[in-house]
């Protein structure tokens, strides 16, 4: 898989490379609607995938995805390409918005009773479809195995379940302070395993 990717990306045979998301965002900041459309095509499946991972309901997830892209349109001028990838900027915004939706509506509670805690805690229940996603998926999954089970559970509930730290505490019947520690230690371990550094 890796070899294939390398050949593909290095070859001159590839058609004109699509504009980077960073460049597209720069154009979006100046009101370029076609750049916005292109950016949307590139990253909306990731945004919707993440939002739907949290919200479960498809229609509601599309609604939130629409809000996210409107925010991208509105605030693109605040993105600085020299300071990090466009995907990071966008996915951070997407997760925040999905969490906001869960907290602000009955939807979150309905969802929780519908699917239950056990499913929320399962971090990886989708079959990855593309090479890129598969690689990232496997990398993260491997890193997740380096966490203690308790850390993994807390991090998954918070990130994929969209639960607040006090909700995690309630669900797991552990003190809030313990949840904080698990979330922080768990993320630090993940950071080190994934080689994320500023």
């Amino acid at each position: 898989m890796l070899d294939l990717m390398t050949v593909d990306s290095a070859g001159d045979l590839a058609p004109a490379a699509p504009a980077t998301k960073e460049a597209l965002l720069g154009r979006v900041a100046h009101g370029d609607q076609s750049a916005f459309g292109e950016l949307y095509d590139q990253i909306s499946p990731r945004v919707l995938g993440l939002v739907k991972r949290l919200l479960v309901d498809h229609a509601q997830s599309e609604e939130v995805t629409q809000e996210i892209f409107l925010e991208i349109w509105q605030s693109a001028s605040r993105y600085e390409p020299t300071r990090g990838g466009a995907s990071t900027w966008i996915l951070t915004m997407a997760h925040r918005r999905a969490v906001d939706r869960i907290r602000s509506s009955q939807a979150g509670r309905d969802r929780d009773t519908k699917i239950g805690i056990r499913d929320l805690a399962v971090a990886f229940d989708h079959v990855a479809e593309t090479v890129e996603v598969r690689i990232e998926h496997e990398r993260v999954e491997k890193a997740m195995t380096r966490l203690t089970q308790l850390q993994r559970q807390a991090v998954s509930l918070a990130y994929y379940g969209g639960l607040s730290h006090s909700e995690v505490a309630d669900m797991l019947h552990i003190p809030l302070g313990t949840v904080k520690t698990r979330l922080r230690d768990g993320l630090i371990r993940l950071r080190d395993e994934l080689g994320v550094a500023s």
Binding site: G31, S75, L91, R103, V127, H137, S198
Partner: protein, 313 residues
């Protein structure tokens, strides 16, 4: 939600770093942690790294193709959706000698680069933009007192990375920064820290509220003015760009105005450049008007002049 962990959070805000990166904090703890970030470079580095780690979790999720109608809808909304103005080039190319984030663009396109370092905590979004959250860029002088001599590249990167944090992060941090550098509150030396952190925390809470709203207008003299508020929390804040300095015998005074009349919501002064802002005292009720008048030093019981700016919440 209100239990023993609360005091704990205030005593050890660093413990919140993981939950913060996972968006697992409530409004209160978010404000506490962001106040901590404004003070600690090390915390900002960690926050940036943990944020990236969280994004890696997001990138591991299988993509889902949206329906075709979603794109069509969006594209049709663009023309009528105002954008935040591009950042002026002069602001984006500031010298990086004094601090790592000198090149961070200012908040609004209309604020000239102040030499004092006073800077704007929040932009004035196009009115009716429908932004749930004010988007803010900030000028980092927050660490100026303690860390300008540190030139570690890691800290520089963290500084710059910090500024691409999402809006709610920026606004809260900016609020704290503005308190130190904006000049607006520099005269208030008694209990300054407590006052500052209350103010910063108030602004952060408004901004983080699920029902956060904003209204933009201009003052009688044409300065851009913004009201941000949360009906749920019952608090609001006024931000005005380049509000003129008043003579020492006068103050700006804030008012909540409704059918029962005008109630004072505190006084403030302005350094004349950057953004003067203030979280209003007292409780806001849905539908209240908010006004700013110029009053004799110390404020008045009732407005004695026409408002320089008024908002309908």
């Amino acid at each position: 939600m209100t239990r023993d962990g609360r005091n704990d959070a205030e005593q050890h805000p660093a413990d919140l770093a993981g939950a913060y990166a996972l968006h697992a904090l409530d409004e209160h703890d978010t404000a506490v942690f962001e106040a901590h970030l404004a003070e600690s470079e090390r915390a900002r580095i960690e926050a940036a790294e943990l944020n990236d780690t969280a994004v890696a979790l997001g990138l591991a999720v299988a993509p889902v193709q949206p329906s075709a109608s979603l794109k069509a809808n969006l594209m049709s909304m663009l023309a009528s959706t105002p954008q935040l103005p591009p950042v002026p080039a002069s602001r984006a190319a500031g010298p990086a000698t004094t601090d790592a984030a000198a090149s961070v663009p200012g908040a609004t396109s209309v604020v000239p680069a102040p030499t004092s370092g006073g800077d704007a905590p929040a932009n004035a979004a196009p009115s009716g933009a429908g932004l749930n959250r004010p988007v803010a860029d900030i000028h980092s002088r927050n660490g100026a007192a303690s860390s300008t001599h540190l030139s570690a590249t890691a800290s520089e990167r963290a500084q710059t990375r910090w500024f691409k944090r999402p809006a709610q992060f920026l606004l809260a941090a900016a609020a704290a920064v503005a308190l130190f550098v904006g000049g607006t509150f520099l005269g208030q030396t008694l209990n300054t820290n407590q006052f500052e952190s209350q103010q910063a925390s108030g602004l952060a809470q408004i901004n983080a509220a699920a029902d956060s709203q904003r209204a933009a207008t201009t003052t009688a003299d044409g300065q851009e003015a913004t009201l941000v508020w949360s009906n749920k929390l019952g608090i609001s804040a006024v931000l005005v760009d380049n509000l003129p300095v008043l003579p020492s015998n006068q103050d700006y005074q804030l008012w909540y105005i409704n059918g029962e009349g005008a109630a004072s919501a505190g006084t403030f002064d302005s350094s004349g450049d950057g953004t003067a802002w203030r979280v209003l005292e007292g409780r806001m009720r849905a539908g209240d008007q908010v006004g700013v008048t110029v009053e004799p030093n110390g404020g008045s019981d009732q407005p004695t002049s026409n408002p320089i700016v008024a908002f309908q919440s």
